[in-house]
């Protein structure tokens, strides 16, 4: 089966059903005939191998028109009453749009990868389309099912809130991410690295500390957060402390594992040169540990922000992302809550992405980086 076959097939069928149903509504859907045409074209294309042009332009264009047609039906059914045929038409249009989005993603995934920056942008395209489909679904469902805004606001309201409350969001971001998460991350990571070196140097320590460390790492941090607030006060230091506690062990375990990653032959080589401990570390063990260290950094980068936010639930000054989230839930300003969550997810993903990119540069030599 070629890319997008089933999705295209399904999309055209659902659109046809939607088109037919939309003709039954009180004010009949004006573009019904056009819609039917588009759906039939997609169907023909999927079923008729001869019509499948070699390139991607034709199917892509059909695909996009199909999605647009689906959006049209959905918008129309949303605008008119949600009864009988319109409701069903809406449902089928949703299915059509979902399949259309999926079809688009499979096209994009199948496209030959360009090189350099264009390729990197291209790699983002598929997830973006996927995300847009999800967001559209969210918007449409919240509206159609008239979900109360105090339970789940539509993405459009969240977007509006982000633009109107940017200054507050920024203040919270600085408080939680820059002060709490980043400082905690830096301290925790640095401490873990130093500790790992010590542990690695003394086998006795390694055998004793790693199991105990594993046990301590299992302490759920939600429990440590109130303790940290008690110890380090309300402002960001206690958040940083929670973050330190959260990132320390993943980082330590990964680094220790990484420092043991050099294989026997690579170590023996160092021995034949009668290299000192420091030389071995700098020239062999650290570089060999890099893939593991970055693994730890990536895990820690998502934990850091979460930790800082959670810690704010247990006491905070009157700013910060966690403070805002919990306060605004109480005030039923759910759009603000989701605005903060959006910022958090964005910041977290970018922070993660930063380490992933750096990893690519530093461990360019590792097979997992060379594979793609």
């Amino acid at each position: 089966m070629h890319a997008g076959f089933w999705q295209g097939f399904g999309m055209s069928l659902s659109l046809i059903v939607a088109a037919v149903l939309s003709q039954g509504g009180a004010p009949a859907q004006p573009g019904g005939a056009a819609l039917l045409g588009v759906a039939l074209a997609v169907l023909l294309w999927t079923l008729q191998p001869k019509l499948r042009a070699r390139g991607h332009a034709v199917p892509m264009a059909l695909n996009l028109t199909g999605i647009a047609a689906g959006l049209g039906v959905a918008a129309w059914s949303m605008a008119t009453a949600q009864t009988g045929a319109e409701g069903a038409a809406f449902g089928w249009a949703m299915v059509g749009i979902w399949l259309g989005g999926w079809m688009l993603v499979s096209f994009l995934a199948d496209l030959p990868r360009a090189s350099g920056w264009a390729g990197r942008a291209q790699a983002l395209l598929a997830p973006v389309v996927f995300g847009l489909t999800l967001i559209w679904f969210w918007e449409a469902l919240v509206r159609v099912l008239s979900v109360p805004r105090v339970i789940l606001p539509p993405p459009s309201a969240i977007g509006a809130r982000i633009s109107t409350s940017a200054p507050t969001l920024w203040v919270d971001f600085v408080q939680t991410f820059v002060k709490g998460a980043l400082s905690g991350f830096a301290i925790g990571v640095a401490a873990a690295l130093v500790f790992a070196l010590v542990v690695n140097r003394y086998d006795f320590l390694r055998r004793g500390l790693l199991p105990v460390g594993g046990f301590l790492a299992a302490l759920p941090i939600v429990g440590t957060a109130p303790i940290m607030v008690m110890w380090f006060g309300f402002d960001w230091p206690s958040k940083a402390a929670v973050v330190v506690a959260m990132v320390f062990f993943p980082m330590l375990v990964n680094t220790v594992q990484g420092l043991a990653a050099a294989d026997a032959m690579q170590r023996d080589l160092m021995r034949t040169y009668s290299a000192s401990w420091g030389q071995g570390l700098r020239k062999l063990h650290l570089p060999a540990a890099m893939p593991f260290i970055f693994n730890g950094l990536k895990i820690s980068s998502t934990l850091a922000l979460i930790g800082a936010i959670v810690a704010e639930f247990f006491g905070s000054p009157t700013r910060g992302m966690g403070f805002r989230i919990s306060t605004e839930v109480g005030r039923l300003q759910l759009d603000m809550v989701w605005a903060e969550i959006t910022v958090a997810a964005l910041a977290g993903s970018l922070f993660y992405g930063f380490w992933a990119l750096l990893e690519k540069r530093v461990t360019f030599w590792h097979p997992s980086q060379r594979a793609r």
Partner: protein, 307 residues
């Protein structure tokens, strides 16, 4: 008939009336099958009722009115608590003797919709809450009284029936504390009322159900006020967390009984008006911007219940 009530906080004597009514069969007498949902940190009762998770909720009036402004039309149908139990409790050795000493201090405040009384008070006093020399530094107080014990705050919010006693239990004498009751400061707002969604009140069956519910609940409250110890034991039996202690709950019941005095469950429109005025009062950033009008409460339920 089924009724689900969402409490504002965890199972404790603050809500004894409902548990007593359930345990003693008052609800059953009214032909009601009542489910009590305890609350907890970060459970917003208005959200629960909006999602259809409850028929009626226990909520503070400031939060309920704020929810109204946020587009969730809550209506007060009954008001068992006549008085406010809220205080600001300060350590005496900080030298605070009156509200005029607040500027420059650090105060602990509950948020999550519970900050409105405090903010109103401060704006009545004209004290900014953004810190600075002439303002107060506000801490988002967590679940407990540690900020005071650890001297991270000069004053913290307490309830007469709960946190205050925790401070005492921690070994600080009453003479070492200075308390500012919101009642005494003239900024009291109504606490622990029963609220339902406006649209439901159009349904006579619902009103009838609520009337029976309120009647039974008030029976429960009366019994609880008279039998504090037994009521506390009933609460303990319903506590799934196993965290509450006998001593604490009995004491809490005693204090709560004081707040009930003067109310048969019917909302006094004057109390409502006072609360609204407090919330509207002063400052650049009032809690509610418009007078909610009389749509925010109704006597329909209590009238039916107590006739």
């Amino acid at each position: 008939d089924d009724v689900t009530i969402q409490l504002k906080w965890v199972t404790q004597a603050q809500f004894a009336g409902y548990y007593v009514a359930l345990e003693n069969g008052y609800y059953a007498d009214e032909g009601l099958n009542v489910t009590i949902r305890p609350g907890g940190p970060d459970i917003a009762p208005p959200q629960v009722i909006a999602g259809g998770g409850a028929d009626v909720i226990v909520e503070w009036m400031p939060a309920a009115l704020a929810a109204r402004e946020a587009g969730l039309p809550l209506v007060n149908i009954a008001q068992p608590f006549k008085q406010s139990g809220m205080m600001l409790t300060c350590l005496a050795d900080t030298g605070i003797t009156g509200p005029e000493d607040f500027p420059g201090r650090t105060l602990g405040v509950w948020f999550f919709g519970n900050e409105f009384p405090f903010l109103s008070w401060m704006s009545t006093l004209g004290i900014p809450t953004e810190g600075g020399d002439d303002g107060v530094e506000v801490l988002r107080q967590g679940f407990n009284v540690d900020p005071l014990l650890q001297r991270q705050a000069d004053c913290i919010s307490t309830m007469t029936y709960n946190e205050f006693w925790q401070v005492i239990d921690a070994g600080i004498g009453e003479d070492e504390l200075v308390n500012f009751k919101y009642e005494d400061q003239g900024v009291a707002t109504l606490e622990d009322g029963l609220y339902v969604l406006e649209e439901n009140l159009e349904d006579p069956d619902f009103v009838d159900r609520m009337a029976r519910f309120v009647r039974a609940s008030m029976r429960g409250w009366e019994w609880a006020a008279e039998n504090a110890e037994d009521a506390a034991m009933i609460v303990l039996d319903y506590d799934d967390t196993g965290a509450q202690t006998e001593e604490h709950q009995i004491r809490m019941m005693g204090e709560v009984a004081l707040l009930l005095e003067g109310s048969n469950g019917t909302l006094d429109p004057e109390d409502f008006e006072r609360t609204v005025q407090t919330l509207l009062g002063g400052g650049s950033d009032p809690v509610i911007t418009d007078h909610p009008g009389d749509a925010a409460w109704t006597h329909a339920v209590t009238d039916m219940a107590f006739d």
